[in-house]
Amino acid sequence: MGEYLFELREITKRFAGVEVLHKVSFNLRPGEVHALLGENGAGKSTLIKIMTGVYQPDEGAIILDGREVRFSNARESQLAGIAAIYQEPSLFPDLDVAENIFVGRHPLKAGGRVDWHRIYREAESLLTSLGMQLNLKRKARDLSIAEQQMVEIARAFSINARILIMDEPTSSLTLNEVAELFRLVRRLRDEGTAVVFISHRLEELFEIADRVTVLRDGYFVDTKPVKDVTREELIRLMVGRKVSSMFPKQEVQPGNVVLKVEGLTRDGVFKDISFELRKGEILGLAGLVGAGRTEVARAIFGIDPPASGRIFIDGKEVRITSPRQAIALGLAYVPEDRQTHGLVTPMNLISNITLPLVGRFSHFGWLDQRAEINFALSMARQMEVRAHSLWQRARELSGGNQQKIVLAKWLSTRPRILILDEPTRGIDVGTKAAVHELMSRLAGEGMAILMISSELPEILGMSDRIIVMREGRITAQLGREEASQEKILHYATQSLEEEVTR
C-alpha cells in the first residue's frame, strides 16, 4: 500500500511524564537515504529507538509494508528487517570481533549447536566485502573507537536489513573510512535498502541523503528533498526559534583574568585548549555533544587531570589533581548529570546542600545540626527552592528544583570560578529563567563563570564571549556581538577535513 516502506505516524513519547516527542511523523521509501536532522535533544535518538523497538511509543502508529506493527523489543524489529547502528557503543567488550557481529542471533547447526565455523566464515567474507581489515579473534575491548564503529557497521549489514538506521556512524571515522562507508550505503540503496542517516556534519547529508527530515525540541518541523534546500536553510529549520529576551545577562565590566588555560591536552579527547576567563564574565562553551567540552571542564576541576598544558589562577600556575584541591582554589563544578554526579538523591535537602561543607558544621566530629539546618534554609530561600520541607529527599524534587539544590550546594562553598555544565538541561522555562537570573547576578558580584551549553539561545543570551569546540579542538572564539546561531553551528558542525582543504 502506498509508496512508503516504513512509516511513523504522529508518534508521541513521554519519559516520566515529560513529553520528548510530540506527534512526530517520519516515512521511508525503499531505496532512499533519508537524513534525520536536529539539534542535541531534538528527539532523534528517541525516535530511532522507537523504530527499532527499544522504546515503545505512547501514541501514534508504526506502519511497515502498509500494515501496523508493534515492536516490543529490538529482536522483533530485527526480524522485521530493521537494523541499527547506535550512537552509544553497543559492542560486547569481552566477545571477539566475529561474535560481536552475530551476537543475539548466533547461527546454529542442526541440534542447536552454535555454528562457529559459519560465524568466522561469514564474518570474514562480510568484512572483506565491506573492505575492512580486522582480526576476527580480537576482543572488542582491544579495538580502537574507529574499529569498534566498523564492527557495528558490519553487524548492521550482516542482518541483510531492508531498513538500516545509522545514528552518527561517521563521528569517529577518518575521511577515507567515511568515503568507504558512503560507497557501501550507496550500494545498499541501489539494491533497494532504505537508510535512515543521522549526522551533525551537514556536508555529509548533502553528499549522501535524498530527503531530510528536521526535528526541533521533539516536534516535527519539515521533510524536504535534499536538492531543494541549502545549508543555511537547514540550519534555520533546526534552530527555528528567535533568541528571546529570556536571557538577561547584565552588562558587567570584566575584571582581571582569574582563570587562564594554556595548551590543555588529553590525547584523543581534547587538544591544545587555551582560553582566559575574567572576573564577572560569563564564557560560553558551545559545541555538539561529544565535542569534548565536559572533558575539558572535568580536566580543569581535577577529576581527570590533563596529560599536558598549564592552568593559571590569578596569574599563578597551579596543578590541580583532585576536585578537593580545585575547591580549595575557589573553583566549583556543577556537572551535567544531576542524578549521578550532582546530587545524593536518597538524602534530604539539608544534607545535599551542606555536603561540601560538613567540616564547617562539625566540632570534634559532632555535627552541629541546628547550624546546618539554618544554613540550608537560608540557601534554599535564596534559591527559591520549591519543596514540601527540607527533609524531603532530593530525588522527589522536579528537575528544576534539583538543579537549584545543586547550585545551592556549590554556591555555599563561595567559589570565585564556577563551571556550569548544561545548567538548564531538562528543566522548565520558569526555572530556566530563574537560573539565568541567578547566573547574571553572580557574575555581577564578580564571579567568573564558564558555561557549557548545547542550547544556542542560552549560549547567545548569557555569554559575554563564546568558544566553539568541535572534535576536541577550539574552532572559534566569538564576541557577544559577532556571534549568531548560524555562525556557531557552522563552526560546530563543519568537518575537520573540510577545513583543511579550504
Binding site: T52, G53, V54, N73, A74, R75, E76, S77, Q78, A84, Y86, E88, P89, S90, L91, F92, P93, D94, L95, E99, V103, G104, R105, H106, L108, G112, R113, V114, W116, Q133, N135, R138, R141, D142, S144, I145, E147, R155, R266, D267, G268, V269
Partner: protein, 342 residues
C-alpha cells in the same frame, strides 16, 4: 589501513610489556603455577601428600564444589550472584534423605532425578523474583538463603538422618568406584563438559556472556535478558539439587547444617579461577583450576596440621586477592586501550 595494522602491533607490544596484562592473558597458567608451587612446598614437608590416594581424596572432595561452582559461575557471568546455593543443597539433601529412609528400595538414579526436581523448584523461585520481580540478586538470594535453610528445620523437625538410615545403594551413589575412580568424580567431569558445552556452543551460553559483558547493548541486539537471567538461576537450582543428593550420599547423612556457608566456597572457586565479579569473563577450565586450588589448600592444611579455622581465613584471603588482581587488570586494560585509542 596499514597504519591501523601498525597500531595493532603497538597495542600487542604494550600488552606484552606490562606484567599485569600478561597475567590477564594467561590467567589459567598463573593458577597452575601457584598450584605447582603449593604442591612442591607441601610435599617437601609431608611425604604422604604426593600420593595417588591423596590425589583421589582431593578430587573426591572438590567434586561437589566443582558442580556448584560451575553453576555459580553461570550466574556470576551475568553480573548476578546466588547466595542461596548452600541452603538449596541442604534442603534437597534433607528431603531426598527422608525419602531414602522411608523407602530403602528407592533407586539412587531416581533419587538424583528427584533431587534435581526439588532444586529446580528452588531455583525457579530465585529466578522468578530476580528476573521478573527485579529484586537485586544479593538481597533476593540472601532472603532465600534464610528461607530455604528455615525450611530444612521445618521439614526435618530439627532431626537428622544418619548413615544407618540410608540404603547401601544410595551410599554407593557417590563413593562407588569405576576403575578406581569414584562416581562423584565422573559426575563432576560430566557436569563440567555439559557446562563447557552450554557456555561455548549454545546460544544461551553466548547470551550469558553477552549480558554480563554489556547489558545495555544486549537489549539493543534483542537478547531476552530476563529470560536468560531466569534460566541461569533455574540451572543453578538444578545443579544444587544434584549436589544435594550427592552430598547426602557422600557424607552419609543429612543435617540441618548441611552445606552451611558453602556459597563462600563456590564464589571463591569461581573468582580465584578468573571469573570476573562484574560479569562477562570466565571459563570452565579456570573454575576447575580454582576449585582444585581450594581443594589442595584444604588438604594441605590438614596434612601439615594447621587448624581448620585457618582454612576459612585463607579462603577469604584468596577471594580478596583474586578480586584485587582482577581490578588491577581491568583498570590497566582500560588505561592502555584508552591511551592507544587516542
Amino acid at each position: 589501513m596499514t597504519a591501523k595494522r601498525a597500531d595493532t602491533m603497538d597495542l600487542q607490544q604494550r600488552l606484552s610489556s606490562n606484567p599485569l596484562l600478561v597475567i590477564a592473558r594467561i590467567r589459567e597458567t598463573g593458577i597452575i603455577l601457584v598450584i605447582l608451587l603449593l604442591v612442591l612446598a607441601v610435599s617437601l614437608r609431608s611425604p604422604s601428600f604426593l600420593t595417588l590416594s591423596n590425589f583421589r581424596d582431593i578430587l573426591l572432595n572438590i567434586s561437589i564444589l566443582i558442580i556448584v561452582a560451575l553453576a555459580q559461575t553461570m550466574v556470576i557471568l551475568t553480573k548476578s550472584i546466588d547466595l542461596s546455593v548452600g541452603s538449596m543443597i541442604g534442603l534437597t539433601a534433607m528431603m531426598v534423605s527422608f525419602i531414602i529412609k522411608q523407602y530403602p528400595e528407592f533407586s539412587p538414579l531416581a533419587a538424583i532425578l528427584l533431587g534435581m526436581a526439588v532444586g529446580s523448584v528452588l531455583g525457579l523461585f530465585n529466578g522468578l523474583i530476580i528476573a521478573y520481580g527485579e529484586v537485586p540478586p544479593i538481597i533476593a538470594t540472601l532472603g532465600t538463603l534464610s528461607i530455604y535453610r528455615g525450611m530444612i528445620f521445618l521439614y526435618s523437625g530439627g532431626t537428622w538422618i544418619n548413615a544407618f538410615e540410608m540404603s547401601k545403594s544410595f551410599k554407593l551413589l557417590a563413593k562407588g568406584t569405576i576403575l578406581g575412580v569414584p562416581h562423584l568424580v565422573y559426575i563432576a567431569f560430566g557436569v563440567s563438559v555439559l557446562v563447557y558445552f552450554l557456555l561455548n556452543h549454545t546460544r544461551l551460553g553466548r547470551n550469558i556472556y553477552a549480558i554480563g559483558s554489556n547489558p545495555d547493548a544486549a537489549q539493543f541486539v534483542g537478547i531476552p535478558k530476563k529470560h536468560i537471567i531466569f534460566a541461569v538461576y533455574l540451572l543453578c537450582g538444578i545443579a544444587c539439587g544434584l549436589a544435594g543428593v550427592l552430598w547426602a550420599s557422600r557424607f552419609e547423612s543429612a543435617q540441618t547444617n548441611t552445606a552451611l556457608g558453602f556459597e563462600l566456597q563456590t564464589v571463591a572457586a569461581s573468582v580465584v579461577g578468573g571469573v570476573s565479579i562484574s560479569g562477562g569473563v570466565g571459563t570452565v577450565p579456570g573454575v576447575l583450576l580454582g576449585a582444585l586450588l581450594l581443594g589442595i589448600i584444604q588438604n594441605a592444611l590438614t596434612m601439615i596440621r594447621i587448624s581448620p579455622f585457618w582454612q576459612l581465613a585463607i579462603q577469604g584471603l584468596l577471594i580478596l586477592l583474586a578480586v584485587v588482581v582482577d581490578n588491577l587488570i581491568s583498570r590497566e586494560m582500560q588505561r592502555s586501550v584508552r591511551q592507544w585509542n587516542r
